[in-house]
Symmetry: C2
Subunit: 214 residues, 2 copies
């Protein structure tokens, strides 16, 4: 059977990018399908009827939703270039921090006022976890690098729109060097939207949201 | 090396019970340590400094927190009686629903007024998923059975305190039969607190909370 892999996503989504990085690290060919969340395709409604959200990864016609679940599926299906650590304990630690990052993000939605403060506290804890390591995954990037990068880098760009520096180097030297190392990797480079286009996109979405709330 | 397994928990916690069921299904000896969350032990603060919550599973001195992460760790460490399905796609589906159950629960905390309505909607979706199956895990209980049971059964007891029937059989015939099948299994029986003691415990906790909020 010819493998068929599709990714349903939206432009510059930090959750998509997790899946794209994993697929590219493993050298898996896939078709990317851009979704318009204000006018969802029949495909998205069919493949993720519960949440109606992207990303959805479709492998040989079978859909998987939720970015962390998709990452595990991809790692178990294509064994080359494993992204989760090998030892069960290291895997547990990586999963613990991934959940920590995503939970904080989900809670942040509810209390936007404290957004920068809480994200900063979270990054301080992760700065500490990363000390003395090249990557969360050890000497090469892995699952937790993908998950934390998607949040830290995307948030950094988002906050820049408001003229605030989210990760000043003097406060986050370890995380800043780590982001720099990641941005030097070809696969990562190819998954990160050009900065100016990304900023313009976020500004347009914020304008849309403001117009809609009037 | 002699294996050393400890579980830090609190009485009648639905998150503990997940870990206890998994350990007992696999026949792993462990020491249970009761925690008082109003006066946490140095052990708990040392082992889960980020969340300061139970359950924490400690294996040969190394702690793992977060119930779903612990279940995966246990399944990867002790291969007998696997609880997650074997095929990557089935594993992804089990993980998707486990996340669905826990996310809903976390959101419910924020909007207590809609608690019964939302929990009922969630159970309707799961009722549909379970149709035609003995267990979520197929012919034997597995990861998703443990996760959903802990929420459905515990919630059923909690709601009973308020004189409401959470899962009426005419509305949830599949889930009710499934809960009955689970309660017939010796390992499950040994992990579920006696109903009267459990109800009394919940009532006392509600009284404590009311007194504290005055």
């Amino acid at each position: 059977m010819v493998e068929e892999a599709k990714l349903l996503g939206t432009y510059a989504s930090f959750l998509n990018v997790r899946i794209e990085i994993a697929l590219k690290l493993k050298g898996i060919q896939y078709e990317y399908i851009e979704e318009d969340l204000s006018n969802m395709s029949a495909l998205l409604l069919k493949y993720n009827p519960v949440h109606k959200k992207v990303p959805v990864f479709v492998h040989n016609g079978k859909p998987v939703a939720e970015s962390l679940v998709i990452l595990e599926y991809i790692d178990e299906t294509w064994k080359d270039h494993p992204i989760l650590p090998k030892h069960p304990y290291d895997r547990a630690i990586a999963r613990f921090w991934a959940k920590f990052v995503d939970e904080k993000r989900e809670r942040r939605r509810a209390t936007e006022l404290k957004i920068i403060e809480e994200a900063g506290e979270q990054m301080k804890i992760l700065e500490n976890e990363l000390k003395g390591k090249e990557f969360f995954g050890g000497e090469t990037i892995g699952y937790l690098d993908i998950v934390v990068f998607s949040v830290a880098y995307w948030f950094q760009v988002l906050i820049q729109v408001f003229g605030v520096e989210f990760l000043p180097e003097e406060k986050f030297p370890v995380v800043c060097k780590w982001i720099g190392r990641l941005l030097d990797i070809d696969v990562i480079k190819s998954c990160v939207p050009p900065r100016e286009k990304h900023l313009a996109y976020i500004k347009a979405r914020i304008e849309d949201a403001r117009a809609a709330s009037k």
